[in-house]
């Protein structure tokens, strides 16, 4: 950006008000979310950078006095809504195959049958995991007198984050919905990422005699620093000490249902996987991935021992790697 005033179509004498107006005007015609033309996007970017520099009178005065220049004042590369909305997984997209008539099958083959995800898109291709909910949609009926009508409230959809352990073991989590409704949600054991939980009657208000709609919570299972999950199998990274790695022996291992004792083989290595049968989710397995951890300090005794040991027992774990 050479001249921020020029980017806004103004001169140095413009008032603060004119600067704001000029920026708004460009935003109106050239906003990348509304105008797909790359030239418009460039104009908007330049205007936004100019506006950021000039909107603060103090900063503008420093620029006018030559104390700061226009370079380096650009907004950090910002993603517009469009950048997200064009992706397949935009959570706000309500319908997709609707409107393709006879070709909706073709559409779904190509782009996948998407659930009617958006805030209020009842019925638009709800997925199977909603178990029969679809029949309930749009169950409105005209009341006898023809005055007003009763309609079931809208179904609403939320994203719910649950921590790793709650999802693995099952449990309850207390949440407040954006409409202020506070409630306890039961998370089933082994809940999977993307799974949907239906809360009957926790959706939008009904009209007339109509009942409330349902709320659907899409689960997002969080990561855990020590645990990983693959379906019903879980993997725990277990740190072991140098002497445990060399000598083997019994170690206590956390599982989803409390600690158990496990036999460590002699000469265990980082990355080695051991199995605890049936200790995963619902009869799945737990794997224990070992990680050898050095003592916090290598004392003189250990170093001396190693020196001596190396003299007669050196080995090359990188043998045959080439390079």
């Amino acid at each position: 950006m050479d001249d921020p005033y020029q980017a806004l179509g103004l001169t140095k004498s413009a008032s603060q008000d004119e600067i704001k107006k000029a920026y708004r005007k460009i935003a109106k015609t050239d906003h990348p979310d509304l105008n797909p033309d790359p030239a418009a996007s460039e104009r908007f970017k330049a205007a936004a950078a100019a506006y950021d520099l000039l909107k603060d009178p103090e900063q503008r005065a420093r620029f006018d006095a030559g104390e700061i220049d226009a370079q380096g004042q650009e907004r950090p590369q910002q993603q517009y809504y469009r950048d997200f909305a064009e992706r397949g997984e935009n959570p706000y997209r309500q319908y997709s195959s609707a409107g393709y008539g006879d070709f909706s099958d073709v559409f779904e083959d190509l782009f996948g049958a998407r659930a009617g995800r958006g805030g209020g898109g009842p019925g638009a291709g709800m997925g199977d995991d909603f178990g029969g909910g679809q029949q309930d949609f749009g169950g409105f009926r005209r009341s006898g007198g023809g005055q007003g009508f009763d309609m079931r409230g809208q179904d609403v959809r939320y994203d719910l984050e649950v921590d790793f352990m709650t999802a693995a073991k099952g449990g309850a989590t207390r949440i407040t919905l954006p409409d202020g409704n506070s409630l306890e949600v039961k998370i089933p054991e082994g809940a999977a990422d993307g799974q949907t939980i239906r809360l009957r009657g926790k959706g939008g208000e009904g009209y007339g005699q109509g009942g409330r709609g349902d709320a659907y919570l899409t689960l997002h299972v969080g990561d855990h620093p020590d645990w990983r999950r693959d379906g019903n199998d879980v993997t725990l990274t277990l740190p072991i000490s140098l002497d445990e790695a060399v000598l083997g022996g019994k170690v206590q291992v956390p599982t989803l249902s409390g600690a158990v004792s496990m036999n460590l083989p002699k000469g265990a290595s980082t990355g080695q996987r051991l199995r605890l049968k049936g200790k995963g989710i619902k009869g799945g397995n737990q794997y224990v991935e070992l990680k050898v951890v050095m003592p916090p300090q290598i004392d003189a005794e250990l170093a001396a021992f190693m020196e001596e040991w190396r003299a007669g027992h050196a080995y090359d774990p990188r043998k045959g790697m080439g390079g």
């Binding site: 708004r24 517009y80 935009n90 959570p91 190509l110 407040t176 954006p178």
Partner: protein, 111 residues
């Protein structure tokens, strides 16, 4: 994965105020992620709220009109994304296939 609290979101977006955010959420025009430690906003929510603010400020759109525009924009952006994917896939096909598809499209669209 960047996440924003409501306060962080308000700080990040020039035209966003607390009542305005509450209103957008109540209208379900933006839907934060819920968890047992409160609500958070993703990057997609940040970008969406930014657009909502700009439509409110620059075009004076409110409630129903705003909702309608967002629905249309979601559909349009989504379709553009799908169209791009379709064209990218087509571009990788052999000439012969592309010509056949082109011909079919012209026949359907009548030019």
């Amino acid at each position: 994965m960047t996440r924003y609290t409501a306060d962080e979101l308000i700080a990040a977006i020039e035209d966003l105020t607390r009542p305005r955010l509450t209103h957008y959420v109540e209208m379900r025009m933006v839907s934060p992620v819920i968890s047992d430690h409160g609500e958070t906003y993703r990057e997609v929510d940040r970008a969406r709220v930014q657009l909502l603010c700009s439509l409110t400020e620059d075009y004076g759109l409110r409630d129903d009109a705003l909702h309608m525009v967002m629905t249309v924009l979601d559909e349009m952006h989504g379709m553009r994304g799908e169209m791009q994917a379709l064209m990218a896939a087509l571009a990788e096909e052999p000439d012969e296939t592309r010509e056949r598809v082109t011909l079919r499209i012209r026949q359907r669209r009548g030019h």
